[in-house]
Symmetry: C2
Subunit: 366 residues, 2 copies
DNA sequence: TTGTATGCGTTATCAT
DNA sequence: ATGATAACGCATACAA
């Protein structure tokens, strides 16, 4: 059995008839190497199927050779897509991509300990992790180049969207449709340290206020960014004495849950209750859900690129704000203010200020 | 405080008043170390905030210290969830988790070159990559411990489901509902080397045959495992001279597309055309889609565990077959065996509160 | 149980 | 442009 073929740099040097130093230089494309020599060395290395030992290289050079991508989750839509974008870019570099998951950052710290990171990676790519929360802070102190995706911090490289604007777009859209009681399915209960959430809350409120509407705390419910959470949140909203006629959810997945809650209550999205999500999830199209789309994969790519730039000594601390886009679909376009209320006489009246039909008041299961 | 003071094993040894060898042994929990000494060393290391240099350690020991998880995609539901499961257990080991993406394995090879893997990882975790396709084969030859998830090969460690049985369950369910023309939305066009696809095709055919039905090639269309592909496939099926009254899709995402196609054609899933998917996607519940659920996260966990066992010299080549479960929902339970019969006036979404008969066969899931 | 000494495969410094 | 050689930080036979 031809177990391992420990072809070392010395073998290459010997066969090529040069010193290991020259081989090293040639292989890494360093200057001060005769083109002829380099060519020769490359050929020999190829023929011998030589592969540098990362361990040795790293030990000698002091570089770790890896990039840590740290995110709360992998399987959730937003994170999966950002990660996919980042992976593509990092894979085309010669850094290893190490993945770390933290779980919900508002819960007990599962953030990878510094020890787990130190000496193993040269840079950090943080996805959806607010730099201000206690467990993340240490990661920033460890002195490695960092790039933030989906959150931001003065002086740190990052790529993010205008969450305030996104939420405002969504809310304003609902207002334009004639709605006056607009609910909010948020993430975690406020107050919390998550910038994106706070920004979206701000956008929501601002839109309401500038339309002369008063944000009603009773209409703001946490949905924890899950489908089930969104469903429960919608249930809670429907159970209010005066339920909303429209809802803005801070994520598509929560909006999906909201849609289901509506159906379970016999209400039709877009007709009885308007719903707008946030993300641009593929399923939003399938479910005919209006949403604020963000360029997730691109955010991952760009973030990775920014980090690589730093690692290569190039520009440090660059920051990019990407645009979002409101995708209007059936869940909000069939304005019910005067819309197809024919099928549901109960809600035909009262313009935008109408109440949700009685059936909405039914108790929420689960 | 000063930057980082590269605390080495020698510093620890000096401060602790022992040799570096002892420190090394103590820190790694090796036997033949006086408990008192070990304790002392540990304390000193802790106080000095010592972190072993992976590079040095790996160079000296010859181990790479990493596990490569290789999958076609990250952002697709199945892969994201399997990966999440694997991540959890690998993270609790002391191997680094390196992620590699290949893109669709039926396309030009983007499989990570051996050179990219050799010396960097100690083991391979292949997700949804059939060992028989040309690009994957080399990975198996490189001599590293391998575990397969979602595919299998005699002699190789792996975790998979009974795809034949899953497809049979789905198809039989439709047959039981009275359907006789049952379409199939497959993955890639047959023939192809993907075991899971072939198995599901087999299950589909067997169910039909054992019910005295003849599988009609005209009713088998590729959907490429995407929502859009599924939508197109459904469109194709509906355009047949004699369209199916029911459809089994090899993935939930394709089934979602099929649902959308139906709606666009003014047909109601579960009433005009029955649809069954495959996966157990969360959205299946939201969309009231009947599906064959597989324990994806658990597959990831188990796969990682099997690989770790091999790496630790324990059991080699273990194989696990996990059970699937048919989750019956509205997309198939409102039996209406007459295909595109006259549309019914009723709107039945309100009653979509079906429970999930976890049919006889579910092992692990949540 | 503990210490000594050597080697792991590269990179980088200094000559040449 | 190229070569010799000292680190790099740790693991591990071997000795004690």
């Amino acid at each position: 059995m031809s177990r391992n073929s420990p072809v070392t740099i010395r073998d290459v040097a010997r066969v090529a008839g040069v010193s290991t130093a020259t081989v090293s230089r040639a292989l890494r494309g360093l200057p001060n190497v005769d083109p002829t020599t380099r060519d020769h060395v490359l050929r020999v290395a190829e023929r011998l199927d030589y592969v540098v030992s990362p361990a040795a290289s790293r030990l000698a050079s002091g570089r770790a050779g890896g990039i840590a991508v740290i995110a709360p989750f992998i399987a959730r839509w937003y994170f999966g897509h950002v990660l996919a974008g980042a992976e593509r870019v990092i894979q085309s570099s010669d850094f290893d991509l190490l993945v770390f998951t933290t779980g919900d950052p508002s819960e007990p710290h599962r953030v990878p300990s510094i020890r787990r990171l130190r000496r193993r990676v040269d840079g950090l790519l943080l996805i959806g992790l607010p730099p201000e929360i206690p467990d993340v802070e240490p990661l920033l102190q460890i002195g490695l180049p960092v790039t933030l995706i989906g959150s931001r911090r003065a002086g740190l490289s990052g790529v993010f969207i205008d969450d305030v604007e996104g939420a405002r777009l969504a809310t304003q859209h609902l207002i334009n449709l004639g709605h006056r009681r607009i609910g909010l399915i948020a993430g975690r209960p406020a107050p919390n340290p998550f910038v994106a959430e706070n920004d979206r809350l701000t956008g929501y409120r601002e839109a309401l206020r500038s339309a002369g509407l008063r944000p009603d705390p009773q209409l703001q419910v946490p949905g924890f960014f899950t489908v089930d959470g969104g469903e429960r949140a919608m249930g809670t909203l429907l159970a209010r004495r005066s339920p909303p006629s429209a809802v803005f959810a801070m994520s598509d997945e929560m909006a999906f849950g909201a849609l289901r809650a509506l159906r379970r209550h016999g209400l039709r999205p877009g007709e009885d209750v308007a719903v707008v999500g946030f993300d641009g999830h593929e399923m939003a199209e399938v479910l005919d859900l209006t949403t604020v789309a963000q360029p997730v994969e691109h955010m991952g790519e760009l973030g990775a690129r920014l980090l690589l730039d730093q690692l290569r000594g190039g520009g440090r601390g660059e920051s990019h704000r990407l645009d979002v886009a409101l995708c209007i679909r059936g869940s909000s376009s069939r304005a019910s203010a005067q819309g197809r209320s024919a099928r549901r006489p109960a809600i035909s009246s009262a313009g935008a200020n109408r109440d949700v039909p009685r059936s909405a008041r039914l108790k929420v299961d689960r």
